[in-house]
Subunit: 711 residues, 2 copies
């Protein structure tokens, strides 16, 4: 896709509707109807070989018969005619098309083939295409007014750019927007995303001024790395809020049967969204609530929330929510409290939450809100209204909006526990604050504002380049390749890590017992002895790891025992001797490494190691390549971070060194992209000085890819 | 409170309104108005010394002037006249009152005193009282039609019994019920809960047939043990759904300033609700969604969910939610799939989720739902509708309800992503299924049905009595008391545990080094040596624990080192020698114990021990006394349960023995209720045979209470 063609699609001066129809209950009819009803500002050319006039407009047999230039074409004809139509569009000089027609990869192998042929043509012609199998596009810009979409409702103007991978869902959403007091600037139904996908929309909207926030409904992410680059940049300018469906295994299978696209593992998706600054929601309800807050609130300066209420209960519930989201309850200044005391009744509470009590009249709402907004210690305000005799909800809402208009810089949200009738009225008004029925929704919204604030304040991550001995690593891989192995031995794995500047624990290889004893003497007791075998990767399972060996006698005994056990299990073949390692004293065993997701590529992991790794699952993921801040986020987002900080009086772990290890691993998989799996387990935090030491390592490569790249 | 008086309050044949008024905008006016407007079936006696007629009814100066009997009185006069009015009520033989008047403990010390005097009178007269400082009571039973409440809206009939601790919130809720398609059977605003509280309501409603479910909004739980007994019994008959506010520290402080009642720690509340089978919600929105589902759905037979949809996206989102709630996606039978294929178009998917595709007509909705409901492998169904040209939402809703009426035994929920207009229409209809706008809400509701199903199926817990040596324990406590200590020594703590049948690790006390060596010989190396001191409870912090001592030489060295270190820190005073313990080989360190919550009383804890206890917080709580099932729930609800099961190839832990340890501790704190804190940390799971062994213990008692009870 090209941004300029995208612009032609979304803001065309003239457009063709290929497959326009006079027959009701057809998509060709509905598109024509919506375009005209919504008052499209440009010229519409209906294309239909059978009719000379459609819905009052002159129709043409093909785009080639249209006299003037055409900026874009909406295609709603049977899929079998789409390819030849694309030829004609190209001949006419059209650079952007929206293919609504279904009958492509979502239908099976034949459709998939047709779609591949379509993509080839698009590339050949340098054409940008939305769809196929989509609902269409919308641009509510008053200068454009493009409703090229067959949803039932006309679009509502707003500041959202919305991308939906599900057509029907997009239609449903268009339907309910008005009720929610939000609207679109632009809407793109990407359908099978043969060309235009969420990435393209982000790239295009990054610099479209009237799109203030971007909402995504995705079932798969077409190009994760591109998404990352674009989203990371754009989220600094405007929030991106995403609902990524197909999280569960069962959900993912429903996803692939639905759109024919492979849903990536959710861990990778979560990592990608987190490190790109995309706000992730897990339900449409939350997606829209968040959008509502972004539509009607500025980004706050801090996370201190004040609550103004006429009822204690909802105040408590909001307080719970504020604390649980990790925000702060604002401490009102003495001045603020005095000002409040001056007019509120004695039974009122002037601490936060400010409880004006049930009988609070309109004037108290106004003055309390004004007073609280003036407090420098307050960044955001929740105003709660519960019905009380004689006070009308809509009047309170108007009063709050009046005060808000005078104080535009701080977010204010309304919680009105009143009838739907109120929300109906509100949905027909211009509002300057978002209204919710329940306090938790409002606070969740503030939490999203706060999240965006923190993201904007976060500096740009750096991608440091370390000096490493990549030639050494290359030679290790070469010898592994030569032997046709996927799996590196422990010694090879540790050699690779060491060459990339990771402190591995002191060790050496010994071919036999005598060498082992000599080596242990050199390293110093206590030592660990590990089986070195090309055939066995899970050494613990075969008794291949012996720890706490204190002297030569013990070493001798353990060695003999290991060999006997292997012999008994018929596993002696492949044993190349043992590795003797320094024994690192540590209570803190971490794990880090690289995993490869088939769709998202290499992914870094960090977390609590040892016996707990599988059970506690206290690990974090980020996609490679890591920025320094990504690495820090990974480290800080596990619960075990407190252990690293020295929660129990230990020497704090050297966080910078851990960060560097993650960055060095990231560099490794960038330099050698065929590294499929890498584990440092355990990464021990030395009790002595907090140094992270790789005590054991495992590396697996993808052979074919490695052969291609190394040779 | 008494149940019979409660029944008089909620279903009175005659009632007095003390403080009835002809003056608009007073509560005495509104109560009278609501009572008459809603069509109360009994006789109303307005009481007001100044008027002879109020709102068309003959008024009396006092209840004593009323000729006939009076079942209950609603009191809305100034608080200073309440006590004398109670005297008159008693004289008149009234057994139940509703005190709406404010001005009691919520106002400060004077009000608190007044409330105490009120409570004394209530006890003296054996009177049952709702309030004070409340909104009133409602009973929508057509035979009663009691709206003794000053909310703005008239109540909507339904099957919910609702208790609200917040008056204004109760009013707000009455307001929005109709919009939500739910209604009350009865409503009680408990206000300051001087007498009637959530417990009383549960006790009363347990046997009120038209209350099918109980909803609670609570900021504090007045009598946790009573609540537990009543709720545990009642939840087997009808669901109890609770929102307990004041969870966070900040929230709890707002709670105490609001109602003057002390909000208990949330961990204890969570434990209480879980072990009583109460469904806990964390927002009003969820509370009402759950109520809606219970109102319109039977309890399912299993947890297998089928999804019927006309759009892929929402089907995927629902699938995600089903899996994330731990329910199963139903596997449709071949027969079902064939039946579906017979009428659905080829593009449809007949796997679960059944995607009928966007164009699905009414007939497909009906037939698909019918077919899926007939499948024995389906326990619950979600039906999703997204607007599609020509198909009206309300028609689809009616079609679904028609099929549901023919198949009443399986829960069906509707997800209609359409306009508020639809929900408005639905709110004016009799419905037999709950409708939601978003799939996640619907699935959350099904999850609650499933939770209730599992709770009903759960057998009753048993409270076994173990044979223990309580005299031994008594003598330990006596000697501790004699020395005026709160804290038991390690040896004393382990002796107490051992006397209660808990396997503690073999050990003995040694006064000096020679005794220590003799003892270690007896126990067998390796051993652990621990400081035995009356002054130091956190032994690790002072180097007072030495592990892995292999022989007498090492023991000698460690002993000397310990003494030297204590001397250097000036901590030698109080040292009584050392404890020599068997060294239990174990990778799995658990923790269990007793904590005392000031409001909820003794609380049991179990979880992952060792260095992780504070950081991972992988622990569970239940209130004492524990049933055997409570103990099992505690063990199974921690993540580390997988370690106990032997996730990494270890010998599985003896779960029964762990359960018994928890039950024995529960018995200990029942027998000796002054035990304030007890820790078994670590409780090691022996690598050898999975036996749980208490390796270290700490017990703290409450001195004054102990003195009272022991002597």
């Amino acid at each position: 896709m090209s941004v300029s063609a995208m612009d032609k699609i979304m803001s065309p001066a003239s457009m063709a509707v290929i497959g326009a129809s006079s027959r009701e209950h057809t998509i060709g009819f509905d598109i024509m109807k919506n375009l005209q009803k919504y008052g499209y500002s440009g010229t519409i050319y209906p294309i239909n070989p059978k009719d000379s006039e459609i819905q009052g407009l002159k129709a043409y047999p093909s785009v080639l018969d249209v006299p003037g230039p055409i900026d874009m074409a909406v295609i709603v004809i049977n899929s079998k005619f789409v390819l030849s139509t694309i030829d004609q569009c190209h001949q006419k000089g059209i650079k952007g098309v929206v293919i609504i027609s279904a009958g492509f990869k979502e239908t099976g192998p034949a459709g998939k083939q047709l779609e591949e042929a379509l993509v080839a043509k698009l590339h050949e012609y340098g054409m940008t295409c939305v769809g196929p199998n989509c609902l269409g596009v919308v641009n509510t810009d008053p200068k454009v007014r493009l409703d090229a979409c067959f949803a039932e409702t006309l679009p509502v103007r707003g500041d959202i750019g919305f991308v939906s991978q599900s057509g029907a869902l997009g239609g449903g959403i268009l339907n309910i927007l008005k009720d929610l007091n939000i609207g679109f600037a632009q809407f793109i139904s990407i359908g099978n995303q043969a060309d235009v996908n969420a990435d393209s929309a982000i790239e295009y909207w990054e610099n479209v001024d009237d799109v203030h926030q971007i909402l995504l409904y995705m079932e798969s992410i077409a190009d994760p790395q591109k998404f990352r680059t674009l989203a990371t940049r754009t989220t600094k300018k405007k929030p991106i809020v995403a609902l990524k469906a197909g999280r569960s295994a069962a959900g993912a299978s429903a996803a692939s049967s639905h759109t024919g696209s492979l849903a990536g593992a959710d861990k990778a998706a979560a990592a990608l969204l987190a490190q790109s600054g995309v706000i992730r929601e897990f339900s449409l309800e939350n997606l829209f609530n968040t959008a509502k807050v972004f539509s009607h609130c500025p980004i706050p300066k801090g996370d201190r929330v004040a609550i103004v209420t006429n009822s204690g209960g909802p105040g408590i519930m909001c307080t719970d929510a504020v604390v649980e989201h990790g925000m702060q309850m604002a401490q009102l200044s003495e001045e603020t409290k005095n000002n409040l005391r001056a007019f509120l009744p004695p039974a009122a509470s002037v601490k936060n939450p400010v409880d004006m009590i049930a009988s609070a009249p309109l004037e108290h709402y106004k003055q309390t809100l004004k007073t609280v907004l003036a407090d420098d210690g307050v960044d955001m305000v929740v105003v709660i209204y519960l019905p009380f005799l004689g006070l009308k909800d809509i009047d309170v809402a108007k009063a709050i909006m009046e005060i808000k208009a005078e104080n535009p810089s701080k977010p204010v949200v309304g919680v009105f526990m009143t009838t739907q009738d109120f929300f109906q009225k509100i949905s027909e008004m211009e509002v300057n604050i978002p209204f919710f029925m329940f306090g938790e929704q409002a606070v969740e919204g503030l939490n999203r504002l706060n999240q965006q604030r923190k993201w904007i304040a976060r500096p740009e991550g750096k991608f440091p380049e370390f000096k490493v001995e990549s030639e050494k690593v290359k030679s290790v891989f070469s010898s592994v390749l030569y032997e046709g192995r996927e799996q590196l031995t422990t010694a090879e794995s540790l050699a690779v890590l060491s060459a990339y500047g990771i402190r591995v624990c002191k060790d050496g290889e010994a071919k036999d017992l005598d060498q082992a004893i000599a080596l242990a003497d050199k390293i110093g007791y206590p030592v660990v002895m590990k089986l070195n075998s090309k055939k066995i990767s899970h050494k613990t399972d075969v008794g291949g790891v012996r720890v706490g060996i204190e002297n030569a006698d013990q070493l001798r005994a353990e060695y003999t025992d290991m060999v006997n056990k292997l012999k008994a299990k018929n596993l002696l073949d492949g044993m190349e001797g043992v590795i003797i390692q320094e024994m690192v004293k540590s209570d803190r065993e971490m794990v880090c490494g690289i995993a490869t997701d088939p769709q998202y590529g290499p992914m870094m992991m960090f977390g609590l190691g040892g016996v707990f790794v599988e059970v506690m699952k206290d690990v974090s993921f980020r996609l490679a390549p890591l920025s320094d801040l990504d690495a820090l986020d990974m480290i800080k987002s596990v619960k075990a971070y407190k252990l690293l900080e020295g929660a129990r009086g230990e020497i704090p772990a050297d966080i910078n060194q851990i960060k560097d290890i993650l960055l060095r691993l990231s560099q490794l998989v960038k330099d050698f992209p065929f590294v499929d799996e890498l584990d440092i387990n355990p990464l021990m935090i030395s009790d002595k000085d907090g140094e992270p030491i790789a005590v054991d390592g495992r590396i697996k490569i993808r052979l074919q890819e490695a052969e291609r790249l190394i040779k």
